[in-house]
Each structure stands twice: as structure tokens, then as C-alpha cells.
């Protein structure tokens, strides 16, 4: 934008002529406005304190404590030994797209592997692609809160306006049409759904999802459904908004391998939608990522082919931990909605926290007892008064953490 007027009225700076484009420390690298508009991560300071001590039990980890199943790892190694080190097709290998298409039928989803599936570098890339492909500057993107931390920055990076929609503990953190109306989502352009939810563990039942789908149809919303935790549900089947009547044609479904297969570091996800949706996302993807990592695509294919039992074993173990954590939290007098999916519990600590402040509670818990949990506000205003407890941690550590929490509360 050489010489152009900047949106904030400044002009491009040079090193010897400081202006709005130059930071006060003299660096040329003043972030672009849409980057500067994003607040720093709400968990960074916790991360630093937690990492600096060696007696910390972390309930703050947003990834599985399991290792990727051996067939997936061995397929990755095998692909390297065979010298599979080149790019794949932009959309991902045909075998993998076919395997994905076969897999998602268990959620009632049906997508053509040739035109309706895009393999991405983690579900994170798919989320970013969806924002960049479908959000125009000034578009309103409705984000239920509390929710995963990446959506709001993603919307801002794309030039959109985030619109928070409150979900409530009293509703077990399900999204309601009342909340959508209250927030003015009827005027919005896009709605992001993340169920099972991070950080609350909430799932949507069939009726709740029907109601949200009807709202989206009525108000002509485009929906981005992040279903990364779909394989980790405990009390019922995963409900996808895209399977509701009239929703497939307005929904991009995002899923991936990180959570279900404990493959976070392999960075592999996918997006599914009507051909025109996937084409638009593929356009951004091909110029930025070119293709998802080849090694990880081979691992993912093996994961789909041969790791169902591993996933079930992990899911059952999460379920046991879930019951244990919810039971313990309730015994300690902390109100917690029964999480139906993912690996998080989201208890209310407002009643026991200094000034009702969950952030202060989390800081003191970390300092006094060496237990790290993420304050709810890291996931948006809707998380106020709560903390996120991840049970992607071994049972022994969970027991010790709960014992420390009990001591802290007494």
C-alpha cells in the first residue's frame, strides 16, 4: 500500500520519518490494523507460570494426553520410507478424501470426495479458510460465547465484525434461539457453531439443533460448523447442523484428526460443503498452503482405516475421567453442567473466587496449589465466573489435582 492512505488516516512510514506506521520503539513492524485489533492471548501468562514450575499439574491442556495410535504413526513413517515427500493435490489425496467421505456418513453427512471435501493443515486452517472465503469486510459473524479462542481473531483477520452470542450455564451451555434473537443474529451474515464445545464440553441435542437450524434458514445465515470433537461424545450421538433440512447448502462442516486420533502435532483437518463452498476455500488454500502435509495425510488414511478401536478406547477413558471430574467438582460444591462431549468441564467458581473473578481464582489456584486451569474469560465474556478444566490428563493426576483443589477451597 505504498503511499496509500491508511485506514486510520496515517501514511506509510519510513525508518527515518516516524509516522503511524512506525512503532515508538523505532521498529518498522507496526502490526497492520486488523492484527493490532486482536487482543493478546488470554492464557499466555498462565502458560508462562505453569511452565516455570515443575510441580504443576496442568488441567489447562487443550489436546489429548494419548499418543497417536500406532497404525497412524507407522503409516507416517512408511510414507517417508517410500519417499512420499512431494505435494499432494491441493484438495488432498483422493484416497484420503474418499475415506473421509465414508467416515462422516456415521454423522449422517454425505459429501462427494471429488468436489465437496478439502483436506487442510489442521481444522484451524479450515476455520481460517472459511472466514477468508466467506466473510467480507464489515460482515457480521455471530460467535457463541464462551467458545474456542481462534474464531474471534480469525473473523477480525478476515475483516469481519464478531458478534458475541451468550450461552448460559443454566442451559447447559447449549445455544438457544432466544440467545440468537437477543444478540441480533437475525441481522448477521455468518454463524459459527462449535459442538461438542471447547471450553464447556456442551453438546446440542437433536431438538436444540433443529431450532438453531430453523433460525439459520429463516435469517439466511451461512454456518461454519466446527465439529472437531464429533467423535468424542458420551451421552448420545453427535448432532450436526448440516444434516438438518435446508442446512447442507448453507453450511461448511469442519472436522479433523487432532482430537479423536490424538494427532494434534500432525496438523490435519478437513472442510466439507457444497462444491462452490469448497471451491472458494480451495482457492485460498492453494495459494497459501498449497496442500496439507503429505506425511500427515498418509497417517490420517491409516487412522480412518485401522484405528477405530483406539479411538473407542480413548473415548471410554475420557468418559471415565469425565464422570470422575464432574462428581468431584460437584462434591466440592462447584456447580458444573454435565459435559456431553470433548474433554472439558466448565465449573462455576464465581461464588468462591475473590470478587467473583475466575481469573484471580485461577491465578491463586496455580500459585497456591500448582494446579493450572484456564479462566473462562479466555474464551470470551460468556465464560466469566468459570474455569475450564481439561480432563485430557491421566487419572492419577486428576485425582491429585482434585485433592489440591479441595484443599484450596477449604
Amino acid at each position: 500500500m505504498s503511499g496509500d492512505e491508511r485506514p486510520d488516516g496515517g501514511t506509510e512510514g519510513t525508518t527515518d520519518a516516524p509516522s503511524d506506521g512506525v512503532r515508538t520503539d523505532g521498529s518498522r513492524f507496526a502490526p497492520a490494523d486488523r492484527v493490532a485489533s486482536v487482543a493478546p492471548s488470554g492464557i499466555r501468562e498462565f502458560f508462562e507460570v505453569a511452565e516455570s514450575r515443575d510441580d504443576v499439574i496442568s488441567l489447562g491442556v487443550g489436546e489429548p494426553d494419548f499418543t497417536a495410535p500406532w497404525p497412524a504413526r507407522s503409516a507416517a513413517v512408511d510414507s517417508l520410507e517410500r519417499g512420499r515427500t512431494s505435494y499432494t493435490a491441493n484438495r488432498g489425496t483422493e484416497e484420503l478424501r474418499r475415506a473421509i467421505a465414508g467416515r462422516v456418513t456415521r454423522y449422517g453427512q454425505s459429501y462427494d470426495p471429488d468436489e465437496e471435501i478439502l483436506v487442510t493443515t489442521g481444522a484451524s486452517e479450515a476455520v481460517d479458510l472459511a472466514f477468508r472465503a466467506f466473510v467480507n469486510p464489515g460482515d457480521t459473524v455471530a460467535l457463541p460465547t464462551p467458545t474456542y479462542v481462534s474464531y474471534e481473531p480469525g473473523v477480525r483477520f478476515a475483516g469481519g465484525e464478531p458478534l458475541p452470542v451468550r450461552t448460559r450455564h443454566e442451559d447447559d451451555w447449549a445455544l438457544t434461539t432466544d440467545a440468537l434473537s437477543e444478540a441480533g443474529v437475525d441481522e448477521a451474515d455468518v454463524l459459527v457453531l462449535c459442538y461438542p464445545n471447547n471450553p464447556t464440553g456442551a453438546t446440542m441435542d437433536a431438538d436444540e439443533m433443529d431450532a438453531v437450524a430453523a433460525f439459520c434458514r429463516e435469517h439466511d445465515l451461512l454456518v461454519i460448523a466446527d465439529e472437531i470433537y464429533a467423535a468424542l461424545t458420551y451421552d448420545g450421538d453427535h448432532e450436526s447442523v448440516a444434516t438438518r433440512p435446508g442446512m447442507r447448502e448453507r453450511t461448511v462442516v469442519i472436522n479433523g484428526f487432532s482430537k479423536a486420533y490424538a494427532m494434534t502435532g500432525l496438523r490435519l483437518g478437513y472442510a466439507m460443503g457444497p462444491p462452490e463452498a469448497v471451491a472458494a476455500m480451495t482457492k485460498v488454500h492453494q495459494y497459501t498452503m498449497l496442500s496439507a502435509p503429505t506425511t500427515a495425510q498418509h497417517a490420517a488414511l491409516a487412522a480412518l482405516d485401522r484405528c477405530d478401536e483406539d479411538v473407542e478406547r480413548m473415548r471410554r477413558e475420557y468418559d471415565r475421567r469425565r464422570r470422575y471430574v464432574v462428581a468431584r467438582l460437584s462434591e466440592l460444591g462447584l456447580a458444573v453442567a454435565e459435559p456431553g462431549g470433548a474433554f472439558y468441564a466448565f465449573p462455576r467458581v464465581a461464588d468462591v473466587a475473590p470478587d467473583g473473578d475466575a481469573r484471580a481464582f485461577a491465578t491463586e489456584l496455580l500459585e497456591a496449589e500448582g494446579v493450572a486451569a484456564v479462566p473462562g474469560t479466555a474464551f470470551g465474556e460468556g465464560g466469566r465466573g468459570h474455569i475450564r478444566i481439561s480432563y485430557a490428563t491421566g487419572m492419577d493426576d486428576l485425582k491429585e489435582a482434585m485433592a489440591r483443589l479441595e484443599r484450596f477451597l477449604s
Binding site: 502458560f47 511452565e51 489436546e63 494426553d65 464422570r323 470422575y324 493450572a372
Partner: protein, 163 residues
């Protein structure tokens, strides 16, 4: 098997020392129901016992273990169960299984010396009329036992706080 019973077994397999209270929390049953379910599983023979997994190399104690392959020839009066019953008598036998393949029984034995194990094979197994052949493999190193790894290096290398 109902979901709660299955979860109960998962929990015990992971840690047989779980308290009744913790088993109740993990299964969603109350403590009385856990006690009842355990009693039923024990009664029916589904839960045969609760035992420790010991890494003998960490103890100042001689401990030798071996896998003995046993081939047998059956006759009208003798079947596999008869032979198994005799072999299982010995306290040296940790596990005894009938196998498919080149031999019939896999016998995991342990003792405080190689002599103990050899004596078991030569005095208690080989003389049995049905036994035609034994091959004894001494264990050199144990890396994993009943799901429990004996090696170190299981550190959690995840970042301690992530979104």
C-alpha cells in the same frame, strides 16, 4: 454387559486399587451399587483377583522368569484340561495357556533362580506322560507387563496450557 459394568471393569483394569468411592465417581453408580456389582463379578468368576505388577529388577531380589513351550500327545484318557490341571498345580506357574500353532501350552513360570525354573520343567512338566517336548525360553528383559510399561521416558511433552 451394561455400560456402567463395562466402565467399572475398565477402571479396575487401569488401577485395581481404586477405592469404592472413586469407582462410583467414574461409573456414575453409587457406592453400594459398585460394591454389589463387584461382588457379582467376583461371584460369577469374571473378576478372578486383584494383583500387583512388580518390576523385580527394581528390587534387591533374585527373580527369574521363563516361557515354557509344551507339546503334548493326547490319548483317550487324557485331554488338554487334564494336562493343564496338572501343570497349573505348581506355584511356579504364573500363567498357563493353550495355544494355536507349533506347540500346545505356553507356560509362564517364575522362581528365584534358573535352578528353580529348570527343576519345575524337568520334575513337574517333562515327566507327565502326555508331554512329548518342552522348550524353555528365559526372559532377559521385561518392557511391559499387563499394559504397564517398565521403561522411563514417558514424560508429557505437551505445552502445559493450550487453548
Amino acid at each position: 454387559m451394561d455400560e456402567a459394568t463395562r466402565t467399572l471393569i475398565d477402571a479396575l483394569v487401569a488401577d485395581a486399587r481404586e477405592s469404592t468411592a472413586d469407582l462410583a465417581r467414574q461409573t456414575g453408580l453409587d457406592e453400594a451399587a459398585v460394591a454389589e456389582a463387584l461382588a457379582e463379578l467376583e461371584e460369577s468368576g469374571a473378576l478372578r483377583g486383584y494383583t500387583a505388577i512388580v518390576d523385580w529388577d527394581e528390587l534387591d531380589e533374585e527373580h527369574i522368569s521363563a516361557v515354557v513351550e509344551v507339546n503334548v500327545e493326547l490319548d483317550r484318557e487324557t485331554d488338554y484340561d487334564d494336562v493343564a490341571r496338572r501343570i497349573a498345580e505348581s506355584p511356579a506357574v504364573d500363567s498357563l495357556r493353550l495355544m494355536s500353532g507349533d506347540y500346545d501350552f505356553a507356560v509362564h513360570v517364575s522362581g528365584s533362580s534358573m535352578g528353580d525354573v529348570s527343576r519345575f520343567v524337568s520334575e513337574e512338566v517333562a515327566p507327565l506322560p502326555a508331554v512329548t517336548k518342552t522348550v524353555t525360553h528365559y526372559v532377559m528383559e521385561t518392557y511391559k507387563e499387563r499394559g504397564m510399561r517398565f521403561t522411563d521416558g514417558d514424560d508429557d511433552d505437551r505445552l502445559s496450557v493450550t487453548p
